[in-house]
Amino acid sequence: MQRHLISAADLTRDDAVLILDTAEEMARVADRPIKKLPTLRGRTIVNLFFEDSTRTRISFEAAEKRLSADVINFSAKGSSVSKGESLKDTAQTLEAMGVDAVVIRHGASGAPYRLANSGWIDAVVVNAGDGTHQHPTQALLDAFTMRRRLIGPDAGIGQDLDGKRITIVGDVLHSRVARSNVDLLHTLGAEVTLVAPPTLLPVGIETWPCEVSYDLDSTLPKSDAVMMLRVQRERMNAAFFPTEREYSRRYGLDGDRMARMPEHAVVMHPGPMVRGMEITAEVADSDRCTVVEQVANGVSIRMAVLYLLLGGNEPAVTQTRTEEK
């Protein structure tokens, strides 16, 4: 595995399966009365968030704390960044305080890549979402959720997603989640279909390792998982689609459409959901929808990633079990 986690495309199949397997071990920790592991004791991780994101930051924070790391939260608002400090200076300031890893969320595509590759700092860099580029831990938690649901928590160990048919629907153009998922799911052997109006698909998509369709209804019966992406209402004003209602009619997932999916198929959403836009309440609240599970799985995946990047030489869970005896 590479030293940083910047893009889902950087992961090999074996890297990804190792992360999913490790996350499975981490998930078992979450079922214990005491959810904490000593693995990253004495390590300092900073959550460097230049963009507002409550759920991702909290998820990372929970993962870091369960691994006993010291956690610093840095949000750009009201900080020196809003006074014009550069990314480089901010990062160097934090590193001077002895940070071992930087979890970064940034509005500019490529900012984590720059942080990891410009010689500014030595710390491990984990991308928590950059612009419309990548969100690798989201893709990993999605794959983890799919493996658990479609294969099983135990049966899934050591397995990839070979032959699973995954449909991703919505604003692909502006979505780092879609990009990360296409890369990772392809690596794991899944067959991905992207569904969106042509305006919300990027020019140049033809080289991506996936199928593209403008028609949701014909894709649903052939899907093992359907992932709905958030569609911001403001896109309407930039003429990406005529009206919210038209978008919902053509690309929203409601009960009738869900009924066309195979019985075992699940509905996923990276959140936050816009109910009534890309997904109806009926679907969002159904048993087939994995939104809440995805959140729980996110903590396990982030624990696995941080463990493997920062403490990977020592066993994570087995050691703890010995200690417990």
Binding site: S86, L87, K88, H106, N117, D130, V203, G204
Partner: protein, 428 residues
């Protein structure tokens, strides 16, 4: 001024000849010329070109002296073999009045490294709404003949039409930065396969091509000539080729970086590759080279765009657009056009001196290397190969995309009206 004998230089890449400079003029060109009373420059194996002319330079003064000044920019120009640069109007304040263009012109004269011919803004403040006083700039001491809102497109069709018409009165030319503004909102790089993957805002080729198509038709309609800045796409080449075949008075330039680099480099997210118009694809690069060779594209212009280090040492979105180019232009042209067999040195002289001087009406520049002509000359060691070291630049800025890249050719001498501005690669 004393005599200088340049001995054994391949004039425009031809047979070795001696060139005698007396004062500011070329006195004699021939073989076995007497060196009596002359300082001798041994030029065996080197190529002698007319002093290069850059129709597209950003000198940044007034306003952004932290990135470049007229002094540092003209020193960089002399280092790169240039004897004239046309200074773009997007300074602070904007060069949209006679006062500003005269200031820039005078600074160039005072420093004496390279003639500086200011370009006037087409519209007040480059805002695209109201014509600047083009006539006053033309009649000023600076004698402006080229007008451009470069950095911004004159996007309003009526304003563009009027500008094209108006400058006919004094033989001026409008140089268009072709970029449809609505199609390039949030644009950060070429729109295509790489931008889709990197999640960077796309700058589609059609945003350039649609403006060029409109402007050649406008030029035809009102009987004016139009110049296209930094043409960057294969489609633009096709449009200009069509326009020329139709007899429309259009000229076009290409930058060295668009002849060499592609958008694949953006995968590094290193802002040193961030430029406007953006680096395009391999297919575009090859079309541009071919067009420069066959004359569809008339000239090479650097779009030398200095920026301070902090404006490039950051994330892609926050970075400034542009790259320095004066000191590497000839090497890149040798690499992409001469060493590939697309253009000989006479062709380089045409694209980098004769034609740009003609388009910009730079008096005394872009002249043949023959007796009686002004001694504006550049001597190039074409056998040289070396890697680019920005620490050695004369420019105040270091934002080159070629750092560490091995390129051929090195300008060893530059003469401006017989006065050496560069000797053995060192500025005088």
């Amino acid at each position: 001024m004393s005599k200088i004998l340049i001995r054994g230089a391949k004039v425009l890449g031809g047979e070795p000849q001696d060139v005698l400079i007396d004062g500011g003029t070329i006195a004699e060109v021939g073989s076995g010329l007497s060196a009596e009373g002359a300082e001798v420059v041994e030029a065996e194996g080197k190529v002698l070109l007319p002093g290069l002319v850059d129709l597209h330079t950003h000198l940044r003064e007034p306003g952004r002296e932290d990135s470049e000044t007229v002094l540092t920019g003209t020193r960089a120009a002399a280092s790169g073999g240039y004897t004239t640069v046309f200074a773009m109007a997007n300074t602070f304040p904007v060069a949209d009045t006679a006062g500003v263009v005269e200031q820039v012109w005078r600074l160039g004269k005072e420093h004496g490294y390279c003639d500086v011919q200011p370009i006037g803004a087409v519209t007040v403040g480059l805002e695209g709404r109201k014509l600047a006083e083009l006539g006053a700039m033309h009649e000023s001491a600076a004698g402006v003949t080229v007008f451009s809102d470069d950095g911004k497109c004159v996007h309003d069709a009526v304003i563009m039409r009027r500008a094209l018409e108006y400058v006919k009165a004094f033989g001026g030319v409008v140089a268009q930065h072709a970029q449809e503004p609505r199609l390039t909102e949030g644009a950060e790089m070429n729109e295509g396969v790489v931008s889709a993957e990197l999640g960077l805002g796309g700058w589609p080729a059609v945003a350039e091509e649609s403006i060029i198509a409109r402007d050649v038709l406008l030029a035809e309609h009102v009987g004016s000539r139009v110049h296209i800045c930094h043409l960057s796409t294969a489609g633009s080449v096709e449009i200009v080729r069509w326009a020329k075949s139709r007899g429309i008075a259009v000229t076009a330039e290409v930058t060295p970086h668009h002849l060499l680099l592609t958008d694949e480099l953006v995968r590094t997210y290193n802002p040193v590759y961030k430029v406007n118009p953006p680096l395009r694809t391999e297919r575009d690069v090859l079309a541009l080279r071919e067009a420069l060779a066959d004359g569809t594209i008339d000239i090479v212009a650097t779009d030398h765009a200095p920026h301070p280090h902090e404006d490039k040492d950051c994330e892609w979105a926050a970075a400034a657009m542009g790259m320095v180019g004066l000191e590497t232009a000839l090497s890149v042209v040798q690499e992409t056009m001469v060493d590939t067999g697309l253009l000989d040195w006479a062709g380089v002289a045409d694209r980098m001196s004769f034609k740009p001087a003609q388009i910009g009406q730079a008096k005394g520049h872009g002249r043949p290397v023959s007796a009686g002509e002004p001694a504006n000359l550049t001597l190039v060691d074409t056998a040289y190969r070396g890697s680019v070291d920005p620490a050695g630049f004369a420019s105040r800025s270091r934002n080159t995309p070629y750092e560490g890249r091995e390129l051929p050719g090195r300008v060893t001498h530059t003469w401006l009206r017989g006065k050496a501005t560069l000797v053995d690669g060192k500025l005088t």
